[in-house]
């Protein structure tokens, strides 16, 4: 599990309870509850999972099992500007691995982690369905197409003065 220890605020616990309740605390709705919780928190730390388990009356182990099974759920906070590199096959044969290497080299973080200032995180995703633009990189909701290794610097520059 994650090494980050945090104490949830009462308001946050309340919000989580509301999310569980909106799905009637039904076991079958666990994935939908987790989607809701991640949308609110940005990630699913152990403490959040504990509240969800308690509310829905299911073992924490099961919640953890589901969270770690699906790649969409994350137990680590993402950067303020999450970078996702498409590593679908179309992007791969058009050089996505080189683009990924360049991001890792410049930001000095491995895939799945966040820079120490919390600004950028790198993840890989499988096919955004914009294969005509391969290789594709997404920063937040913004899509960059036909990215070259040279283009990586330019993308990061766009966020230089943003926070």
């Amino acid at each position: 599990m994650t090494s980050i220890k945090l104490k949830l605020k009462d308001s946050e616990v309340q919000k989580l309870k509301e999310i569980c309740k909106s799905f009637n605390n039904e076991h079958g709705e666990l994935i939908n509850v987790l989607h809701g919780a991640q949308e609110y928190f940005g990630y699913l730390p152990a403490e959040v999972q504990e509240v969800v388990a308690e509310e829905m009356n299911i073992p924490v182990a099961k919640v953890y099992g589901v969270v770690t099974f699906y790649s969409f759920f994350t137990m680590l906070p993402r950067g303020r500007f999450p970078i996702s590199i498409c590593t679908g096959t179309a992007c791969y044969v058009r050089g996505a691995d080189k683009v990924l290497d360049e991001f890792k080299r410049i930001l000095k973080v491995p895939v799945g982690e966040t820079t120490s200032d919390g600004k950028f995180s790198i993840t890989c995703l499988r096919c955004v369905g914009a294969c005509g633009l391969a290789p594709v990189v997404m920063v937040g909701d913004k899509t960059y197409g036909r990215v070259t290794t040279d283009g990586v610097k330019d993308i990061l520059k766009e966020y230089e003065n943003e926070d």
């Binding site: 679908g88 369905g129 197409g145």
Partner: protein, 597 residues
């Protein structure tokens, strides 16, 4: 609906949106307004046209003018020239690369000539967020016909007669599947649409849901009527926000029009649809895993039988079909099973949608009759290999499929021929590779995917694929021996024969098919310790060819690790100890002075 003289269709698919087609739409609307043309010209956002290579696309009807690579600023010219003066904007027309001439409309483009659009019939034609446009395109007519005129068993027979086979990959006859589900008794039966498209490089299901969501809802209702189910569920990836948004709109509109809900069209038949979200797990495309995921559990598959038709969602009889299969259903009822069965080959009827991508000129989504050859797809529709390179292989079936080569170029594509060739139809990803692609690395790429996506329930898949990946890694590092190739094959066979579900049973296919078709390439890696395509970093090095180097310093300036030294106008040198083999120098050199050895 108002009658317009002209419609401007702007592609609102994911690919074109990424190139600002939404801004283009706004600009076109504004130009139309500024010129007081609102009563004559309608601007519509549609689903994907398929020609993603040259997006964003704008099509003008009635004349079918097809504009490519349109930017938001081009809106002014399109309205001023086309809508007002009645002449096309020449600079935005598509230029045929072979003939070097501009093509005025889509009907004459090589990309569209051989296509037959059934599943994609409305994509790029109607506004997916407006049910009236779907109704105008014969929408819900099939549902009306089935409810009013046919008994469930008659409708099922029609689907059987059409010869439609499941488009999600396996190719099981859809009508037979419905028949089995119809004969099982259950207090509550379910119809499930599998929209968990996880094959990296395939995006047809998403395009259908984004471009024509009602066709799926209509078919699910027909399916429900046939098997006696009143509830439908769509299991869709959370990574597809636009498709989810359009589905939600479509469900709401269908309910308002009485096409979903209680007593549909006064027939006494009740049917409604809900959406369930996936959370990113490839194995959930397998129907038993999908059902577990919908129940809120880890998406692990279970042994069949019992089949979902016997015991599926919440233990009830459940029929699962894929998005593309559903998109074909209304047409089968509107045009007849006979018509549908007249297209395709003896055992594979109708069409198939392929996501054509990779090293090909026209990347995009295409729908072609079964039985078309790879040569037609690659050279006529796809416009040939990018940058004039040599064709090497095409990968079909994604992580479960294999590679087809030069010798398969004239094989008619259908379910059975692809399996005979060592690959499979899969969901329809078609990735073209050229001489620069290393087939061992490609196999490793797919295994990397499988290792990550294996659910871990059965050991052949969980452990075996990891070992397979490690073997491939050793080969690409030049650390494997010739005997290891036999081990690779043996292990592949064991995983194929002993895994629990389809994911594990097909995961060695990329390895086996590349070993069969590119044996020489594997041998070069293990015996000569060479990568003929110059991809495997541990087996290559970059060197300066002294006689070609003019000392322009381009390589040194672009080297990310500063490992190239040399004075201006002097021959440069690469420090092999520091080189990370990124290939930037090779790309930048204009004098052919960098070689991969």
């Amino acid at each position: 609906m108002a009658k317009y003289k002209m419609h401007m269709l702007v592609c609102g698919g994911t690919g074109c949106r990424a190139s600002a087609s939404d801004m283009l739409y706004e600009n076109l609307k504004k130009e139309v307004q500024d010129n007081n043309l609102e009563d004559d010209v309608q601007v519509v956002t549609t689903g994907c046209f398929g020609f993603c290579e040259k997006g964003p696309i704008v099509k003008v009807i009635p004349d079918n003018t097809f504009y490519v690579s349109v930017e938001p600023d081009d809106a002014k010219d399109i309205v001023a020239e086309h809508a007002i003066k009645g002449r096309s904007v020449k600079r935005l027309l598509y230029t045929d690369p072979a003939k070097k001439e501009q093509i005025p409309d889509s009907k004459h483009m090589g990309f569209y000539k051989k296509q037959i659009r059934i599943a994609l019939r409305n994509c790029g034609l109607i506004d997916p967020e407006n049910i009236e446009e779907y109704l105008a395109a014969d929408g819900y007519e099939a549902l009306g016909k089935v409810l009013a005129e046919m008994k469930p068993e008659e409708a099922i027979q029609e689907v059987i007669d059409s010869g439609l086979r499941g488009r999600g990959g396996g190719g099981f006859p859809t009508g037979i599947k419905w028949q089995i589900a119809s004969k099982v008794d259950g207090a509550q039966k379910y119809v499930v649409c599998n929209a968990d498209e996880g094959d990296p490089g395939a995006f047809m299901d998403r395009s259908i849901l984004e471009g024509d969501p009602h066709s799926v809802l209509e078919s699910m209702a027909i399916n429900g009527y046939c098997i006696g189910a009143t509830k439908g569920l769509i299991y869709i990836r959370a990574e597809y926000p636009l498709a989810i948004k359009r589905l939600k709109i479509a469900i709401k509109q269908a309910r308002e029009f009485g096409l979903l809900g209680k007593d549909i069209l006064g027939s006494g038949f009740d049917f409604d649809v809900e959406i369930r979200y996936g959370a990113g797990a490839f194995v959930c495309g397998e129907e038993t895993a999908l059902i577990h995921s919908m129940e809120g559990d880890r998406g692990e598959p279970t042994f069949k039988p019992p089949f979902p038709a016997q015991s599926g969602y919440l233990g009830m009889p459940t029929n699962v079909n894929n998005v593309e299969s559903y998109a074909n259903i209304p047409v089968i009822f509107n045009k007849g099973a006979k018509w549908f069965a007249s297209i395709g080959t003896e055992k594979s009827k109708g069409t198939k949608v392929f996501a054509l991508a990779g090293k090909i000129n026209n990347v995009g989504l295409i729908e072609v009759p079964m039985g078309i050859t790879l040569r037609e797809v690659i050279y006529e529709i796809g416009g040939g290999i990018k940058d004039g390179k040599k064709f090497k292989a095409v990968q079909t079936g994604g992580p479960s499929g294999g590679c087809l080569t030069e010798k398969h170029l004239d094989t008619p594509i259908d379910f059975d021929n692809l399996i005979a060739a060592g690959s499979m139809m899969g969901s329809g990803g078609m990735i073209v590779m050229d001489e620069d692609d290393c087939m061992v690395s490609v196999a490793k790429f797919y295994l990397d995917f499988t290792v990550e996506e294996s659910c871990g329930k059965c050991s052949p898949c969980r452990v075996g694929n990891k070992r397979l990946y490690e073997q491939l890694e050793l080969i690409t590092q030049g650390k494997a021996k010739k005997e290891d190739l036999d081990k690779l094959r043996n292990l592949s066979n064991v995983i194929r024969d002993t895994s629990l579900c389809g994911l594990g049973q097909t995961s060695p296919n990329p390895v086996l098919s590349t070993m069969d078709n590119f044996h020489e390439e594997y041998l070069a890696h293990v015996t000569d310790k060479q990568c003929p395509s110059g991809v495997c970093k541990d087996l290559i090095r970059y060197e300066v060819i002294a006689e070609n180097c003019v000392g322009c310093t381009a390589c040194a300036r672009n080297c990310p690790v500063n490992c190239i030294s040399g004075e201006r106008k002097q021959v440069h040198e690469i420090d092999q100890a520091l080189c990370i083999k990124c290939g930037a120098c090779l790309e930048k050199c204009k004098f052919n002075a960098i070689a991969v050895i």
